[in-house]
Amino acid sequence: MSGDVERKLDTLQAIELAEGVEVRLRIAGPILRGGALLLDVLIQWLLIGALTLLFALTVGWVAGGQMSWGVVQLLWFFFSWWYPVFFEAGKWGATPGKKVFGLRVVQVSGSPITFGQAILRNFLRVADGMPFMIGYGVAGLIPTFGIGLATMLATSRFQRLGDLAARTVVIYDRVPAEPLAPSPPALESIPPGVALRPEEIRAVGAFRDRAGLWSEGRRIEIGDHARELTGSAGSAGVTRLMGIARWLQERK
C-alpha cells in the first residue's frame, strides 16, 4: 500500500530483517568519505616514506640500489592495494581514515563485509579513480576519482563502482550525540484520551525532549497542533502534552 504513495526521500536506508525487525543504515555521503580518502592517502604515503628510508639505510646499504628499489616497489604495491582490504575486512570494517571520520563499510544488508567483498570493492578503486591525470616526470598516473564521485552522486545509496560491484555501502558508525534540552518535568502524568500509535508516541517523546530548544511561542504553536489530543490550547495545552509524555514514559 505504501507503493501508492511516492516514496519520500531519505538518507536512511531501511532494511527489513526477519520477524518484522527493521534496521536503519545511516548511509554516508561523498564528502566525509573524501576526507577519509585523503587521510588514508596521507597515512599510506607516510608509511611508505618511512619504510623506504629504513630500507634505503639497511637493505640498500648492504645489497645495493637495485635491490632496495625493488623492495620499495613491492612496498608500494602492498600499501596501495592491500592496505584498505586488510583494514576493511578486519574487525574495524574501516580503514584508519574512515575510522577517524566515524565511517564503516558494511554489506547492503547491514552485516559486516567479507574478505572477498573487501578485495572487490578496493581493487575496483582503479575504475573509480578514472580519469587519470597523465602526469609528467615522477608523478605518473594520478587518479582523480571523477568516476567514483559521479557514481556516488548518481546512486541513491552513495555507492561508487566498487561498492556497486561488491554490494557494500559506507555508513556512519558513530554519530555525535545531539544536545537535548528537555523543559522542566511535568508535575502530573495524564493518560491520553485516545490510544496512540507508535509514531505518535515517538512524536510526543520528541516534543518533551526537544522543547527546551524552542522558544515559548514556538512550543505553544507546536502544542496547538496536538489540540485534538490535549483538548486545550496555549500553554495549558503544552502542560497537558508534557503530562501525557510523562504518562507514556512511566508506562514503558
Binding site: 555521503g29 582523480t144 485516545v194
Partner: protein, 474 residues
C-alpha cells in the same frame, strides 16, 4: 513534504541535500544554467575578443544568481510543487537583482552563503531580521559550512582537472600529441601556448567544474538549512502532530457517526473495499496446479479392462498374453538380480553401520593407525620389554591388537571407546582372537592403571602367541 524530515547530524543533512539535487538533477542543472544565461550573454564579447580569463572571472562572480535558481527549484520541490519552466523565467529577474549589493558585492565571498541564501530567498528577510535569523540558525554551529566551503574550493579545481583529463582521454591522437607538446614546453620553462581547442577545453572544464560543485554545495546548504530548522523549530514534531490531529479527528467523527446510529454502511463498505483491494494484490493470488500422473492401477485398467482392448477381436488375448509374459519376465529378472548379488545386501545388512563409519585412528589417546606401528610388533615389544620399558612394550602390543581389530578384524571401535568398550565389542564380534585379547587387555589395564608389572613369562607368552596377522581373517 517530499523528503523525510527528522533531526539529523550535520553531515547527514548534507547528504540529504545531495540526494535532493540528485532526485531531479537535470532540472536543477537546467535551472542553474538559466540563472547563468544573462551573464553568458553579457560577457560573450569578452570571449570573442580573446579575454577568456576575464570571461571566467565574470562567470564565477555571477554564480550566486545561478545558485538561487537551483535553490528555487529544490525548495519548491521539497514542499511538493515542481516548478515549470515558466516559473523559472518568472523567478529569473528576482534572482538577478534581489539584494544585489549585499549578495553580489558585500557578501560575495561569504562561506555561509549556502545557508544564508535560503534565509533571504525563502523567508524573504532583510536587514536586522535577516541577521537575527541567521544568528539563530547558526546556533547549531557552522563547522559543517566552513568544511563545505573548503571542499567547494578544492573540489571545483579538482573536478575541472578531472573533466579536463576526461577530455584528453577522448581526444584524437594528433590533437593529443599537439597538446602534450605544449605542456612539455610549459613544464620545461616556456610559456603555455595551447592550441585553441586546448583553451576551449580548459575553459569548458572549469565552467562545468564550477557549475557542478556549486549545484551540489547549494543543495547541501539547503539540506543543512532544513535540518537546522528541524532542530530549532521542531518541524518533524509539528508534522507528526498534524497527522495525529487528522487521525484523531477522523476517529472521533467515526465514533460520532456510530453513536448517532446512522447505518455505518459507509465505513463498513470502506473496509470491505480495502480488503478486496488488498486481496487483489498479486501476492494474494491463489495459484492452482493440476498434476496428471499415471498410476499403475489406471494403467492396468486402461490396458486390460478398456473396451478397446476387449474389442480387439481374436487378437485381444494375444496382446494380453504378451503384456503378461513381459511383466513376468521383468519380475523374474529382478528376482534373479537380487539373488545373484545377494552378498551386497547380506554384507550391508550384517555389519550395517560399522563399515560405513570412518575408522578410528586414535583410541583412548593412543595412535592406532597402521602406519604408526612398527612392522614387527612383537619383536619391537620384546626388545622394549627387555630394555625395561614395560609401558611402551605392552602399549605396543595393545595398540597393535586394537589396530588389527579395527582394520582386519572389522570390529567397529569408536574413538570414544574405553578399554572395556573395546573388549565388549570384540566379544560381540565373536572372533577367534577374543580369548587372547581378553588376556592382553587384563595385563594392559593392570599395568596402565594399577602399575602392576606382569612377569617375564607372561609377556613372552603374549608375544609368542600373537594371533594377529596381516591380511584379513585367518
Amino acid at each position: 513534504m517530499t523528503a523525510e524530515l527528522r533531526p539529523r547530524s550535520d553531515w547527514e543533512a548534507v547528504d540529504l541535500g545531495l540526494a535532493l539535487v540528485r532526485r531531479d538533477f537535470r532540472k536543477v542543472f537546467a535551472a542553474w544554467w538559466l540563472g547563468m544565461l544573462p551573464m553568458l550573454l553579457l560577457s560573450s564579447p569578452l570571449l570573442i575578443f580573446g579575454f577568456p580569463g576575464w570571461f571566467l572571472v565574470l562567470f564565477w562572480w555571477w554564480v550566486p544568481v545561478a545558485s538561487r535558481m537551483a535553490l528555487f527549484h529544490l525548495s519548491r520541490h521539497l514542499f511538493g510543487e515542481v516548478p515549470s519552466a515558466a516559473d523559472w523565467w518568472r523567478e529569473l529577474p528576482r534572482a538577478c537583482f534581489r539584494r544585489f549589493g549585499y549578495r553580489m558585492l558585500w557578501a560575495r565571498l561569504s562561506h555561509w552563503r549556502p545557508l544564508t541564501m535560503a534565509v533571504e530567498d525563502l523567508e524573504g528577510l532583510r536587514g536586522k531580521a535577516y541577521r537575527n535569523r541567521c544568528r539563530v540558525l547558526m546556533r547549531r554551529g557552522d563547522s559543517t559550512l566552513v568544511m563545505l566551503a573548503m571542499w567547494k574550493c578544492g573540489l571545483t579545481l579538482w573536478l575541472a582537472l578531472s573533466l579536463f583529463c576526461l577530455l584528453v582521454l577522448l581526444l584524437s591522437q594528433a590533437a593529443q600529441d599537439e597538446w602534450s607538446l605544449a605542456f612539455q614546453m610549459f613544464f620545461s620553462g616556456g610559456n603555455l601556448v595551447l592550441p585553441p581547442s586546448g583553451k576551449a577545453a580548459i575553459l569548458l572544464s572549469l565552467m562545468l567544474g564550477i557549475s557542478l560543485t556549486d549545484l551540489f554545495v547549494t543543495g547541501a546548504g539547503f539540506g543543512i538549512y532544513v535540518n537546522h530548522r528541524t532542530w530549532i523549530e521542531g518541524w518533524d514534531v509539528e508534522l507528526a502532530f498534524r497527522r495525529m490531529a487528522t487521525r484523531i479527528a477522523r476517529v472521533v467523527a467515526a465514533l460520532a457517526l456510530a453513536f448517532l446510529l446512522i447505518p455505518n454502511a459507509g465505513a463498513e463498505e470502506g473496509d470491505k473495499e480495502r480488503i478486496e483491494r488488498i486481496l487483489k494484490d498479486p501476492a494474494f493470488e491463489v495459484h492452482t496446479e493440476k498434476e496428471v500422473r499415471w498410476l499403475p492401477a489406471d494403467w492396468w485398467n486402461f490396458n486390460f479392462n478398456s473396451p478397446s482392448a476387449g474389442s480387439g477381436g481374436s487378437f485381444g488375448w494375444v496382446l494380453t498374453l504378451i503384456q503378461v509374459s513381459g511383466i513376468v519376465l521383468l519380475v523374474a529378472l529382478l528376482a534373479w538380480l537380487i539373488y545373484r548379488f545377494r552378498h551386497v545386501f547380506q554384507r550391508g545388512g550384517g555389519g550395517g553401520a560399522a563399515p560405513a563409519r570412518a575408522k578410528a585412528r586414535v583410541v583412548m589417546g593412543m595412535e592406532v593407525g597402521e602406519e604408526t606401528l612398527p612392522e614387527d610388533i612383537t619383536g619391537a615389544a620384546l626388545r622394549a620389554w627387555r630394555e625395561g620399558r614395560a609401558q611402551e612394550a605392552l602399549g605396543l602390543l595393545y595398540r597393535g591388537a586394537i589396530s588389527w581389530m579395527i582394520g582386519d578384524g572389522g570390529v567397529g571401535i569408536a574413538e570414544s571407546d574405553t578399554e572395556s568398550d573395546c573388549l565388549r565389542r570384540v566379544r560381540e564380534a565373536g572372533l577367534r582372537q577374543t580369548q587372547y585379547f581378553e588376556g592382553l587387555t587384563d595385563v594392559w589395564m593392570r599395568l596402565a592403571y594399577a602399575r602392576q608389572l606382569p612377569g617375564d613369562p607372561v609377556v613372552e607368552q603374549l608375544c609368542a602367541q600373537w594371533p594377529f596377522r596381516k591380511g584379513g581373517l585367518p
